[in-house]
């Protein structure tokens, strides 16, 4: 266990290191730099080149990276090339909304997906199974923004029940702001997860230990909850850790449509404006989150099914 944790930690450090080099190179590969992005026909080319020198963008790539990396090691994520403010502030101000959104989504998705997955798994290929499969699949196949546009058109514009955007609203004052974005994000994640839980349930139901528990007189309800679920949950939990990335894609669309000042928007803005320190900072945070999520998933799986191999 200890060596496992050690290996994981080393791997994580290597991952983060390689990742930041990669992100730096990737953003450097993009045409133009942050100074160019200010070229909106209000700054003249002469002003732009002076700006570039001031931002230090005329330095060679390697020395820029070394500077940045040195700062990061000292705990300083640097300053934004665009706003001039500390990257930490940008990360902080953008993380909150997305975090709330994701957590709220997961809080709905996980119980729902588990319930649906078990219902489907226990009625493998039955009518209910097919019905739920078709509905969740169809929902997951409709592009997010189509769902969003339809939901907004009906519930905000027609019926006026729910706010159409987060503009000018505060989450603390009106939690209903979450309803539509979460509803949009729900479809795909529920589909992915419930299918995994379904598959896990089916496998577990056919497993000999479940058959044997039934023979020993364990009632059906208990069988499902205590014997099938923990084993069925394993692929689901692993999927959940992988869903993070998928969810982020959806979050971006949702952030754009509902004007949520969140993480994904900040990331894409950063790429578009070539604000390398901001992109780096955000990616770093994201990578750490992803690593923690995966670690948590692995540990949870190991807790659920102790035999699950950890590293290999």
């Amino acid at each position: 266990m200890r060596t496992y944790a050690g290996q994981r930690a080393v791997l994580a450090v290597v991952q983060l290191g390689v990742l930041s080099v990669l992100v730096f190179v990737l953003t450097a590969l993009l045409p133009g730099d942050a100074a160019d992005m200010r070229f909106t026909e209000t700054l003249t080319p002469d002003q732009v080149s002076r700006l570039r020198a001031e931002l230090g963008l005329d330095q060679p790539l390697v020395s820029r990276f070394v500077d940045w990396f040195g700062d990061v090691v000292r705990g300083d994520l640097g300053t934004s090339l665009i706003s001039g403010g500390p990257v930490v502030d940008i990360v902080k101000s953008s993380v909150g909304a997305t975090l709330v959104l994701t957590l709220a989504t997961l809080a709905v998705v996980v119980p729902l997906a588990v319930a649906l997955g078990i219902v489907m798994g226990t009625r493998e290929n039955g009518r209910l199974d097919r019905a739920i499969t078709s509905v969740t699949l169809a929902l997951s196949a409709i592009p997010d923004f189509v769902i969003a546009v339809l939901l907004v058109a009906v519930f905000s514009l027609k019926l006026g029940w729910l706010p159409a955007t987060w503009i000018g609203g505060s989450l603390l004052a009106s939690p209903v702001l979450l309803v539509l974005p979460v509803a949009v994000l729900l479809g795909r994640t529920v589909c992915l997860l419930s299918r995994q839980v379904r598959a896990g349930t089916i496998t577990a139901l056919h497993a000999e230990y479940v058959v044997q528990a039934r023979r020993l007189g364990v009632p059906r309800r208990r069988l499902l909850l205590r014997h099938v679920l923990p084993n069925a949950a394993v692929p689901g939990v692993q999927e959940l850790a992988r869903t993070g990335d998928t969810l982020l894609g959806g979050v971006l669309v949702v952030e754009a449509i509902f004007a949520i000042p969140g993480f994904a928007t900040a990331l894409v803005d950063g790429v578009e404006t070539r604000d390398v320190p901001v992109v780096q900072g955000l990616t770093l945070v994201l990578a750490v989150a992803a690593l923690l999520l995966n670690l948590a998933a692995d540990l949870l799986c190991n807790r659920l099914v102790p035999r699950t191999e950890l590293l290999r």
């Binding site: 990742l19 290929n125 546009v149 795909r188």
Partner: protein, 270 residues
């Protein structure tokens, strides 16, 4: 008997759902429909016009190749690369080779796919090939892990040893037995992966990073015409329905395939 019938029915529905969009995509461009362009979001023609005044029906006929092609292409490429790496990593007896193939991909796992795709999309503007490759690329690490895990189970089973004892060929062992054992997990994965790829391509277009905004592509149509959804719903709904039909049908078929490959006996009753 009933079950069987139900099975065939769902296969039929699946084939139908996949077939319609695929047929439209493949043969649509050959249908000689030439409609004079009209005004934006007008109700002229069968399905009206889109934001550029083009006939929606005609766009549907020509817009499937890229829309489906890119998603399918991306998944196929991801499986060609990831599947091969996964198979090799699982079947190699050299630990260094396995580690050398898998660890770098592990490092890539937390890289947000959005970042990769936006970089590629910004770097190679509106190139269907570049986007396909980017979408494939972000799928490679997960596919590799999936295939490797599935193949590792099969490759370390006594069946493979027995086959080697019989001196079966590499192809026989790895594509025939191991490859076929991987098929189950792959089929389960394929459905969702295609859905995700379709969705990823669509959101790339949504972000304006994808194909040219005037390209007659289903995904582009959906994202570009959403503004006119209330004026001329078909310009969005028609391509969306085709995409949904495709992914839905595909998943149903994958489920059937899975159903057949998984049927393992219950040991205890024997």
């Amino acid at each position: 008997m009933n079950r069987r019938l139900g099975g065939w029915l769902s296969v039929g529905i699946g084939v139908g759902l996949v077939g319609v969009p695929v047929v439209v995509a493949v043969f649509g461009p050959l249908v000689p429909v030439r409609v004079e362009a009209g005004l934006p979001y007008a109700s002229a023609g069968v399905l009206g016009t889109d934001g550029l005044g083009r006939d929606v029906l005609q766009l549907l006929l020509v817009g499937g190749r890229t829309a489906l092609g890119m998603a399918i292409g991306a998944v196929v490429i991801a499986y060609l690369i990831g599947g091969l790496i996964g198979l090799v990593a699982a079947s190699t007896r050299h630990r260094w080779l396995d580690e050398g193939l898998i660890r770098p991909l592990d490092v890539l796992l937390p890289l947000p796919s959005l970042l990769v795709i936006s970089v590629v999309a910004v770097g190679w503007r509106a190139s269907a090939l570049a986007i396909t490759l980017a979408v494939a690329l972000v799928n490679v690490p997960t596919v590799t892990r999936l295939v490797r895990a599935a193949a590792l189970d099969a490759a370390s089973s006594p069946v493979v040893e027995a086959l080697r004892m019989q001196r079966a060929s590499w192809i026989n062992i790895h594509l025939g037995y191991v490859g076929r054992s991987v098929l189950g997990p792959v089929a389960a994965d394929l459905g969702t992966r295609i859905t995700l790829a379709v969705f990823l391509v669509a959101s790339v277009n949504f972000l304006g990073l994808g194909l040219s905004p005037t390209a007659p592509d289903w995904a582009v149509s959906i994202s570009r015409n959403r503004e006119g959804l209330l004026l001329q719903p078909w310009s969005v709904l028609a391509p969306a329905l085709l995409l949904v039909s495709f992914t839905l049908g595909f998943n149903l078929l994958a489920d059937r395939l899975l159903h057949h490959t998984r049927r393992r006996p219950v040991e205890a009753t024997r």
